[in-house]
Symmetry: C2
Subunit: 407 residues, 2 copies
DNA sequence: TTGAAAGCGCTAACAC
DNA sequence: GTGTTAGCGCTTTCAA
């Protein structure tokens, strides 16, 4: 019998490549031949030989069973804490064996059987997005305590998102948390997920349906509150610096549109026409904010006393920081010359000059809640009714709005 | 026993109409025990059985094989692109069948056989750490193109880190990228990993060994360069605002110690005694920086003209922003009264007032390189020699250091 | 209380 | 070129 005639099943594929293999085989050939003929009597011997050859480094449940002198099913029971199935002494025996062998149950083998992986896919549009960190922290904090793992992917556009979802489905994730483009985009792929019975929750996207778990931030409300704060301070000419206002749904963000809308609503409520106000596109970036700040300064200079903006609602915190600098560089002083308020409450907000008054959005909580909702439907065996949760902002008054304006 | 002889309770009446039902039953019947079990425990197991029948919505390789009229191995070959094994018509047939059935190969079943999961564990100390986003982006960008998935965990301390590694090993990750505490801490668990032959790379931690893949940032060099920039501008009284200087290795960060050291070295090289300089602990936070800024202002006021610091090296960018504000609030003007330089180059650096001059650390690249190194050892079948890579800083001159000082 | 064995979905060696 | 089948490590059912 030659090595070539030996049937080698997949795990032993590369045995042939191992020079050691031939040696051992020749040496052990007698046994192998015997095994061929009387396989049923010599199974365990064969296994030992192959074990030796392969220097099997990972210990399996079988190794533990063997060492403890029990069956694998018994080991499985104690590993999984199925108490009452196993006597105390046996359990101890098994635990000791497992410890001795440094046994580490193979989670993916378990997943295979249970058809559950205890991992959830977390899909993010842009890693740089300010929302990302707090949301991820929130998600992580609850998933970790619930024993779920996080498979992370960033997906910059719809195609990537679809692809990430596909890949993760292949990886058999139990569910998804999708925090992505705040845009109105096709959601067929999400609907497919739903059809397939895979739970998921979407954070901060305009879906146009209530058939899907969604955690929303109250952007309109935030826009209103920001504007109202300014109005209450006595301002009546309130400029706005928005994000990209393009009609292209791929560029325009939901938060831009809705914060803008909140501003108009608040103005309208006080009978102020928004068309008289100064509207500047700040592109949602630091740099765009800087430009917008200069533009605002120019605008103020060009206006007469009556119509010049005395306050400005900046739709995003990064922009706001740029605005502060643009205004400063143009020789304006905030809040003396213009009051500034913005939405979002990044860690740096208290440390700008002047410190930014903001509407903080509870994004850490959004992450936690998303994870909570997901875990709930993961643990329920029925599919739950879709949750629609909207989180409101909190006003954090600092320096950039100054005090009451004397009218 | 035929399907037709089964008693089906009302809700399941119409199951008979479902041809799929019959198929499954016949298939299961293959095993005598199943049939017996079925007969004996019919009522109690009905639900389970029906579950199996009805929930069979996921198509497996077997379904595809059946539909294409070929064997599973043939399907496997075409799925895995083992061309040359299969004739073109057969391939088309199979591809069509897969498409029709919306077949999605089960990656974890594949992992099971191949003993490779194509996922790597990414372990982060603190999600809020400024390094986290760029590093993760870097890591993500290369892992994604290499076809690896990311399992994410944050681990705030050593115990959590060990735990995360254990859990991920159970999940059979192929390797690790560990970006954590910049501290000198026990590394037994990392050594164990190494023994187990699991590739991993550590970013920005002081390991005290070169047996491990490490991506380092040249913190000492950054500290020197920052200080030298100030010296070159004509300053000779250069204060430093450090991170926590505690002796406790759990609190003291590597970057603090080394940036501090760089400052001393640069000073020493010009024959300037560092003990004459002003050293303030800024705690590595925005808030600490704010306090430190006030303290620095007080210090300057209290000093005479000769010894008063005219410049300050702030060890971290978040602190630097706080310092700017602290100084501003105390009526100081940067850079006229004090020049400020810092390390790290966060997105907000150009937008502080004044814009921060910084030494940018290539952390995005660090992430990419880490992933690159990991992927290399993942793809090599031999264990590679450990890589020790150190990345240097780049000076980004903005406003906070002003111009040459007239001596 | 314990053990035997089927099988989760897939790969790949070998047979034909 | 295509089919058969063992086995990856585990859980779970049923029998003993």
């Amino acid at each position: 019998m030659s090595a070539a005639s030996l049937f080698l099943s997949p795990p032993f594929n590369d045995l042939r490549q191992n020079p050691f293999f031939i040696d051992v085989l020749i040496e052990k050939r007698k046994h192998v031949t015997v095994v061929k003929r009387f396989a049923k009597y010599f199974n365990s011997y064969l296994e030992t030989i192959l074990d030796t050859v392969m220097r099997k480094q990972v210990t399996t449940i079988r190794d533990v069973a063997k060492r403890a002198g029990v069956s694998v099913s018994t080991v499985s029971h104690v590993i999984n804490g199925h108490d009452g199935h196993v006597s105390a002494p046996t359990r101890e025996l098994i635990l000791a064996a497992a410890r001795d062998l440094n046994y580490r149950p193979n989670a993916i083998a378990r997943s295979m059987v249970k058809r559950k992986t205890a991992t959830v896919g977390l899909i993010i549009t842009e890693l740089q997005n300010a929302l990302f960190i707090p949301v991820t922290e929130g998600v992580e904090s609850v998933l970790q305590t619930e024993g779920y793992h996080i498979l992370l992917a960033s997906a910059g556009d719809l195609a990537h998102e679809i692809n990430a979802i596909e890949t993760m489905r292949a990886q058999q994730v139990d569910g998804f948390i999708i925090m992505s483009l705040s845009l109105r985009l096709p959601i067929d792929h999400l609907l497919h997920l739903r059809e397939a019975g895979i739970p998921f929750v979407v954070i901060n996207r305009d879906l146009g349906t209530d058939e899907i778990n969604q955690i929303q931030l109250d952007e309109i409300g935030a826009g209103r509150m920001a504007t109202e704060h300014l109005l209450n301070l006595g301002h009546s000419n309130i400029a706005i610096i928005t994000g990209p206002l393009s009609d292209d749904p791929l560029i325009r963000r939901r938060s831009t549109v809705e914060r803008y809308q909140g501003w108009r609503e608040a103005l309208a409520e006080r009978g102020i026409s928004d068309s008289d106000q100064c509207v500047i596109d700040g592109g949602y970036t630091f740099e765009g904010g800087l430009q917008a700040g200069s533009a605002l300064a120019a605008q103020i200079k060009a206006s007469d006393r009556k119509t010049a903006p005395t306050a400005c609602f900046v739709c995003g915190d990064m922009m706001a920081m740029g605005v502060l600098k643009g205004l400063h560089d143009a020789g304006f002083e905030v809040p003396r010359d213009v009051a500034i308020i913005t939405i979002g409450d990044p860690p740096f907000a208290p440390y700008t000059i002047p410190a930014l008054t903001t509407l903080a959005l509870p994004i850490f909580q959004a992450g936690q809640i998303a994870a909570r909702v997901l875990v709930d439907s993961l643990k329920a065996d029925k599919s739950l009714a879709p949750q629609q949760i909207t989180l409101g902002p909190t006003l954090r008054i600092r320096e950039s709005c100054g005090a009451q304006v004397r009218s």
